[in-house]
Symmetry: C4
Subunit: 261 residues, 4 copies
């Protein structure tokens, strides 16, 4: 897959800089201890994914360290001059499964943010306990099933992506209507229309996870808010009748929203 | 409602700057994730409310972005030169209900601060568990009733304000004596004599919510402090016999204080 | 009580600057929300107490704002040039009771720090659950009895000091061996040989309160460490055989240490 | 043990600077209140240990304050010019036991970090509840037995080291495969191939302790993840088939890994 034309260079350069910037911002957001987090982005027209290199410190990260692959994880040709000598994040196969499966996704984020990870470790989904949650996610944040040993031993990272897809398909969720998930025994993934939106969703998930845990400490049996309140808040921010923000309707809804319960 | 005279310009300019400054301060206080918070202020003589624009990042917010409306939410004429092109906070109708109902209020704040929101999500009121609480609020911080679907579907934000007013009226509270409330399944509102006082009350509510949640973790059945201690601390800071601070009596009490229980 | 000689000016000036500095440091330590904290110091030879003015913002506080009184709370003469025009902290009478009762105390701190206040609100003493606690306090941190309404209505702040003294006397504690206490339904007080030591003890109390609350979440029935471990850690840092730090024996023990249980 | 050659000076100078730097970094990481933490490093060829001086503020710490001893705790000769006039950390004997017992250790860290200390105070081990934990530690983080009074009264710090060694030996753990432990009623120790790795492990232990405590709040009976997931994550980062980071296989595994249960 040789890349030669200037315009591609320019487009990809822009994506590389944005993915780099969002990785740095993710660290600055306080969601990431050590190097436990990565952001990727995709150029859908070229089928090229840009992702953080594995295990590198955010403080020394430069745009040139970002790794480029196609949707099957194959590295770009060295001659492309955009090629990094780095190894990609080990979570790359999980990102790729999500990009291949959900055409509307433009950015993916993985973190081990503390409160969302607590829910993932407890293998508990996150019910919609308030309007903060409803503003971003139409219903419960699901937790994946626990992986079988055979799925762990071979192609673990790709299988993590498949567990996410399976859970979303089984619940008949639209990925942009619930832009994050908890991977059982592991940690959260978040996504969005672009890398910046994915990082915002990762920040939101951590905030609503903390609120939910504290709510459970006050009342261990809370279940969820009414369907009317869920709809009101979600649709206030998303879809054709949205009226939050400066440019409504801001975020298109892909297909119809159906309550899950 | 054309606005022409210089003096009005000067007065409104001052209010606009103060509302802008308090929005920035609210963000700096750590109470606000993303854009989940807004401050408004009112010029009672002119009947003009100034409020944060919807969904805008605090880092780029300028005084000129503030939105001006009358008490019914009608925008000022563009010719006024004070007109912002922005959309107001979606919570504007809630603020307006509070301004119309409580003449002593000069500023209103809405946040989704973590601990106060946990109480709101648990639909639990905040009993007065200590003197920190008693210094600012004469008794329990109430939580509103859960909204009916019909009240959610139409005029949701104005109805949120009405739920707040109803709860305060039913408990025969004076709004300045309990300057905040928890909206069930949602988050807190706070107010004060001016925008700065409203922001301070929002900060206080978050602090006493965290203290109360931690107190419940140590003793789940705490109820509240004695009437004598509540009165002592509240009146040490408020009313004619106040002796806290540098300019006593600092904060006038509107009417008599009556214990609620 | 006219103050005229230069040397007194110099000594008092030094104390004023140190009390001012420790108030600023207390705020910077993160223990103080709003203006909920104050530090005082005493010049034992002159019988003069220096304390923070009431309700003033730490950011604008200057040494000249510090208030000077004698041990009965009488202000110094204006002619002294060290006189501040400010009102003293409303908690001054509590500080004075402690200075009058405990001759070894050189500084007093009051805060509403979150975790220590949670224990005070829960009316729970803080058992010594680990060596962090034992390094600073020889045994349980007591909580005072709940005040009777009559003691609240008249001379409340002085009575708060008397409740502290009564609890310490009843437990036969030496104040420097347990340099902090929890006032029931209120918040903590801490003290030390000087204002800086008092602030350090306030910071320590908040840290061990947080550790204790988290320990109780893991095991609600923890009681305390062994007498041997308590003695070892306390005496490693305090008394004639202390061997912690750069200048042992660093902190004299006043009298003998006796276990309380 | 006179030290004369230039090359030794250079090597030791480098170790002294690194130990100093890691002590400063430990403080900056937020794990340390007051002076409750210390880092040491070892020059195995010379048998020289470098450690923080006792009770000194990190803000004023300079490389020249670091203390040098041999593996039995004997100070270097003053003539060495590398000699510090400071007293070493009182925890030095614990560090020395670990260095003598585990040849693969190049750095040791002791902190009273809040969440790890809560587990230590509760005398609870930290089961592997998720992949964050599995990435750094192959199985449960053990807690030592409670010390007998006789072991506390004499050679307390060395006996603390012996309690750590005994627990690790009894569980047949390899120290690099579980690079931290909880000392009952006290606080954690962490170690690594060098001082920087030891500090990283101390940071990791605090993070996974917080995650575990929050997980227990959501489900008090969690036990641990599957053997397959534990192996996958640990071996993704450690040993010959590691594929995390930029230079695999990054961390050698000493001997074979065996599950403990």
């Amino acid at each position: 897959m040789p890349i030669q034309t200037k315009s591609i260079h320019r487009t990809l350069d822009d994506l590389i800089r944005r993915v780099w910037k969002e990785n740095v911002r993710l660290k600055a957001s306080g969601l990431v201890t050590m190097t436990w987090g990565n952001v990727s982005g995709i150029d859908r027209r070229r089928g090229i994914v840009v992702i953080k290199p594995s295990g590198m410190d955010y403080a020394t990260l430069r745009p040139a360290d970002m790794v480029l692959t196609d949707l099957d994880g194959r590295r770009l040709e060295p001659a492309s001059r955009l090629e990094s000598a780095r190894m990609p994040s080990t979570d790359l196969p999980t990102h790729l499964v999500l990009y291949r499966e959900f055409a509307e996704i433009g950015g993916v984020v993985h973190t081990h943010s503390t409160y969302a990870t607590a829910f993932a470790q407890a293998c508990r989904s996150l019910p919609c306990l308030g309007t903060t949650h409803a503003d971003y996610c139409y219903g419960e944040v699901p937790v994946t099933e626990i992986m079988r040993p055979s799925a762990i031993r071979e192609h673990y990272e790709a299988n993590t992506g498949r567990m996410i897809v399976r859970k979303i398909r089984r619940l008949r969720l639209q990925p942009m209507v619930c832009p994050f998930i908890l991977v059982a025994n592991h940690a959260p993934f978040a996504w969005g229309a672009n890398p910046a939106a994915a990082v915002e969703n990762a920040i939101v998930l951590e905030a609503i996870s903390k609120m939910a845990l504290l709510t459970f400490l006050l009342d261990g049996r809370r279940t969820g808010i009414s369907q009317a309140l869920l709809e009101k808040h979600y649709l206030r921010k998303h879809g054709q009748s949205a009226y939050y923000g400066q440019a409504q309707p801001g975020v298109p809804i892909h297909g119809n929203i159906h309550p899950r319960h």
